[in-house]
């Protein structure tokens, strides 16, 4: 479980996050949603330690991550897997080398064992046969799946996915969503997905935090999100014609 308490973050004079409280449960797909510029990415970067918070605490399984030195944080970081928005694959390495990389750096496994584990993860994301290709030689959807395989290869306790469906067609997006849900249940990870894709939220969101202007304006589950009564969230959820039609149909019944 990850617990965020009273987190503030500003860049110079510009306050981006203020008083963020959030709880992300283990074995669940936790969503952070909100419009562009609402502070989702900054909050995520604070949680994983890429940015330092100005105030507040972030706890991983009760341990205060914000109070640790960079050296002390390494222990927790080894338990984190992250899927970046653009995949962030190492372009000088093949698909297999990308997936093996965290194991080469941090495990005591031998070459054969590492390769076996990496191949197992590639199989899990349905990418057997692509292991010797370079990131530039595969599609965006495949890159996301490779990044997911790399994120889970070390059997992380915490999985972060930053806009996992951005730039993907709807069918591939569903594949990625299902993978995230299945892996969360399989590995019992605390999964945090940053997204503004309402399809994903409705499909796999167990626990949802809606960020508006740097604060958590609403939290709840996917059933509650369609009828939250929060004006900003309604505007966000029903921004598309499709969602408005769904709402109209639901109200017509």
């Amino acid at each position: 479980m990850i617990q965020v308490r009273g987190v503030d973050k500003a860049f110079g004079e510009k306050a981006v996050l203020h008083g963020i409280d959030a709880k992300f449960d283990a074995g669940q797909v936790n969503f952070i949603i909100g419009r562009s510029g609402s502070g989702k990415s900054v909050l995520t970067k604070c949680i994983v330690g890429l940015l330092e918070v100005d105030a507040g605490t972030i706890q991983y399984a009760g341990e205060d991550f914000t109070g640790l030195t960079p050296k002390e944080r390494e222990g927790i970081r080894l338990q984190i897997g992250m899927l970046f928005q653009g995949g962030a694959l190492f372009d000088s390495m093949t698909v297999l080398e990308n997936v093996v990389f965290p194991l080469r750096m941090f495990s005591s496994m031998g070459t054969e064992e590492r390769t076996e584990r990496a191949m197992e993860c590639l199989k899990r994301v349905e990418l057997e046969g692509a292991e010797h290709r370079f990131p530039a030689e595969i599609s965006g959807g495949m890159q996301k799946r490779v990044a997911l395989a790399r994120a889970i290869v070390g059997r992380p306790r915490y999985l972060f996915c930053d806009e996992p469906n951005s730039g993907l067609d709807p069918q591939t997006a569903i594949v990625i969503d299902n993978l995230i849900r299945d892996l969360t249940q399989e590995y019992k990870t605390t999964t945090v997905v940053i997204s503004h894709d309402m399809n994903s939220v409705i499909e796999i969101g167990d626990n949802i935090h809606f960020l508006h202007k740097g604060s958590v304006a609403w939290r709840g589950d996917r059933k509650g999100i369609l009828d939250s009564g929060v004006k900003e969230l309604d505007t966000f959820v029903y921004a598309s014609d499709l969602m408005r039609n769904i709402k109209a149909k639901l109200q017509g019944r």
């Binding site: 330690g49 890429l50 970081r77 984190i80 970046f84 928005q85 653009g86 962030a88 750096m105």
Partner: protein, 245 residues
């Protein structure tokens, strides 16, 4: 204020870069890759430039001195120019354009495509992981390239003297041996190592602190070359004053 900020950040960057590698065999493999990229892939351009420079220096010296100073002056001048300045200073300056811009754009691209964030989240100390192999490889391989440049430049001078009948081989040989001080080579290699360190670290620093997109990567690459060359020139003056006077 800006200059002080960059100096402070550069030294903090170097302190991180010089930390002990997290995994020895990954570091060794990365260093081997860098030796190939920085050294072997630069051998052609270094050889080409050195041959032409050695030959041109010989011709220019002959053009100016023949008739009023002994012919062995050609060999002496080629040797001194190649050992003291062309090989240890001009070759690194040229390599800053090739190697430095490559390092800055490679690390800059990794920064803007979140590959460095990915390393950090994994628990990898990204600066040390990316920069230390390049520093070690450059400090090790630059002196080798410079020695190659010295030998080829002096050899090319001999070849052009005979081919263009500027002086006899015996005069040239006498010139390159005359008043030879081995400390000149030591001085050249010391400053080569320093320049290798400057070029790789300044380029890596600019690449690492890139933010934005392709345009900023290009800008970092240009800054890397410009700042490397300026710092190399200043360092050249300082180290020459310290070691040769």
């Amino acid at each position: 204020m800006g200059l002080l900020f960059h100096i402070g950040r550069y030294f903090a960057f170097m302190a991180s870069a010089l930390r002990r590698p997290q995994k020895g065999h990954v570091f060794a493999q990365a260093t081997a890759v860098e030796l190939e990229a920085i050294g072997v892939q630069s051998l052609g351009i270094v050889a080409l430039l050195s041959v032409f420079m050695g030959a041109v220096i010989a011709i220019q010296t002959a053009h100016q001195v023949v008739g009023w100073v002994p012919a062995y002056t050609i060999g002496f001048t080629v040797r001194q120019t190649m050992i003291l300045e062309f090989a240890p200073t001009i070759i690194p300056v040229i390599l800053s354009g090739k190697v430095g811009s490559n390092i800055a754009s490679q690390i800059g691209t990794m920064q803007v495509t979140e590959q460095i964030d990915a390393l950090e989240v994994m628990g990898v100390r990204s600066i040390s992981h990316l920069v230390l192999p390049k520093l070690i490889a450059a400090v090790f391989i630059f002196p080798f390239l410079v020695i190659v440049a010295m030998v080829l430049g002096i050899g090319a001078g001999a070849w052009i003297c005979m081919a263009a009948d500027l002086s006899s081989l015996a005069d040239y040989e006498y010139g390159i041996q005359m008043d030879f001080r081995s400390f000149d080579v030591t001085y050249a290699l010391i400053k080569t190592c320093l320049f290798a360190l400057i070029i790789t670290s300044v380029s890596a620093y600019h690449g690492y602190h890139t933010s934005g997109g392709a345009k900023e990567v290009g800008r970092s690459s240009t800054k890397a070359v410009v700042y490397s060359v300026v710092i190399v020139m200043v360092a050249n003056l300082v180290i020459t004053q310290l070691l040769l006077t």
